[in-house]
């Protein structure tokens, strides 16, 4: 899982465009023809830089995203849920592995990415800075956060960078299991006892704002954004993805006679777009910059896992090993 077009960085100030105009034209023609870009192909500096950021932050989101749900592995009710949740969280770790590898093909090592995650230099999806307080939270996460992730990932999988597309293809297959599992868990709570419905409704109320944040703030149409669209790095606007999500999932939520904490949420029959109260984008920025309920813990856990694993990795490392980068 993962989220957000918000991660795109401003272009380097005064970045000297050392990109050869002839090669740039060939590159753009290739993308216009719908061809994919492979790791050893020529690519513009800014294309490489933005992709590294995009894929790296996606990878971080997977590994950090394993934490709120991992919270409930030992407590999941019964074998069916326990095994499924363990497998789902394992998948998220697996997604991180696939995505770090994809980012590495662009020239940034896994070690550098992890350093940037732990130092706070590199971000991850905001939703994972919120706590999973009850079992119902995991059900809501597995259904709706993963649903958001699928909207995002299916969109990105049509992008131009081949290793990212290949990783996403595999990831999307696994996400569909996550989504089904999450929906199943939610439906069991929603159709269960009054107490089960109550914890579910409570979880939904708490997760709705982070879910609305998930796709990032409305994009302002910048020249920069247009270039990323033309290069097929960014495949859809944040708002379009949010609309797609609302369109697919709000009716399913309402069908279960659950409510959402936004009195203005409705689909406008004329524009066929969803209307809603803008979520608190100041909170979004605060949390992204470190001041959310779980930021500190998430990073501390990751840091500790790296530190405690250090002697293990050092013991395994063979002196003759060469640094290498995944092929594709």
């Amino acid at each position: 899982m993962y989220g957000g077009g918000y991660i795109f960085d401003k272009p380097l100030q005064d970045h000297k465009d050392d990109d050869d105009p002839v090669k740039l034209a060939e590159f753009e023609a290739r993308i216009d023809r719908g061809e994919k870009v492979e790791p050893h192909d020529w690519m513009p500096f800014e294309y490489r830089r933005q992709l590294i950021r995009l894929i790296e932050q996606h990878a971080h989101s997977e590994i950090i995203g394993a934490l709120p749900e991992g919270t409930w592995i030992t407590r999941a009710p019964g074998f069916r849920r326990k095994l499924a949740l363990a497998a789902k969280v394992q998948d998220e770790v697996g997604h991180a592995q696939l995505l770090y590898n994809a980012a590495e093909t662009l020239g940034k090592s896994r070690e550098e990415m992890i350093n940037d995650l732990i130092s706070g230099k590199s971000k991850y999806s905001n939703v994972f800075n919120y706590p999973a307080k009850t079992w119902a939270d995991t059900a809501v996460i597995a259904w709706l956060i993963d649903a958001g992730a699928i909207v995002n990932q299916v969109t990105n999988s049509k992008g131009s960078y081949a290793p990212y597309c290949r990783a996403l293809e595999r990831i999307c297959q696994e996400e569909s299991f996550h989504l089904k599992y999450g929906y199943d868990a939610v439906v069991h709570l929603a159709t269960g006892t009054p107490a089960q419905r109550e914890v579910l409704q409570d979880a939904l109320n708490r997760w709705w704002p982070p879910i609305m944040h998930f796709f990032g703030p409305p994009d302002n149409a910048s020249v920069h954004g247009e270039k990323l669209m033309r290069w097929k790095v960014k495949m859809a606007s944040n708002d379009d993805m949010r609309q797609q999500f609302l369109n697919m999932y709000v009716p399913k939520i309402w069908e279960l006679e659950l409510t959402l904490p936004d009195p203005n949420l409705r689909k406008n029959p004329e524009t066929r777009r969803w209307e809603y109260t803008e979520p608190d984008w100041d909170e979004f920025k605060r949390v992204i910059n470190g001041d959310g309920p779980c930021n500190k813990e998430r990073l501390a856990v990751r840091r500790t896992a790296e530190e405690r694993g250090k002697w293990v990795r050092e013991a395994l490392l063979r002196p003759e090993t060469q640094y290498s980068v995944p092929l594709s």
Binding site: L67, T71, I73, G94, N115, R166, V301, T304, L316, S324
Partner: protein, 127 residues
Amino acid sequence: MSTIKSLDPRVTRFNIEEDDQSMQPLERRDYFETYEVFHQAKRGGRHTHVGSVHAPSPEMAFLFAKEQYGRRSTSTSIWVVRTSDIHTVGDEHSDMWENVPEKQYREAGFYKVRSRIEQFKKRHNDS
């Protein structure tokens, strides 16, 4: 220094120090080298490239690859090979593949004799 009391009982038991900033940055070879993974889904099928793993040895690369790439659906075999042992040439040579599709004399579809036979039969019957 106090340890984190988390909603996650696992994390609480992991005894994580709250404000420890002493971690040294990882170095480039911390995660070993990479191996490419080839997966066979059923006996008699091909081994297909499915991705890569970081591993300190071929044996560990196999252990990792089996679970990362073979834990779903069916698998009958996995191969791993050091990425650095794979040789290829880069995109600057992509033009060497360009004319291949034009050499149709190497393809079955190039050989069409039916109309010639029909003409022959027609001539033969006419005479």
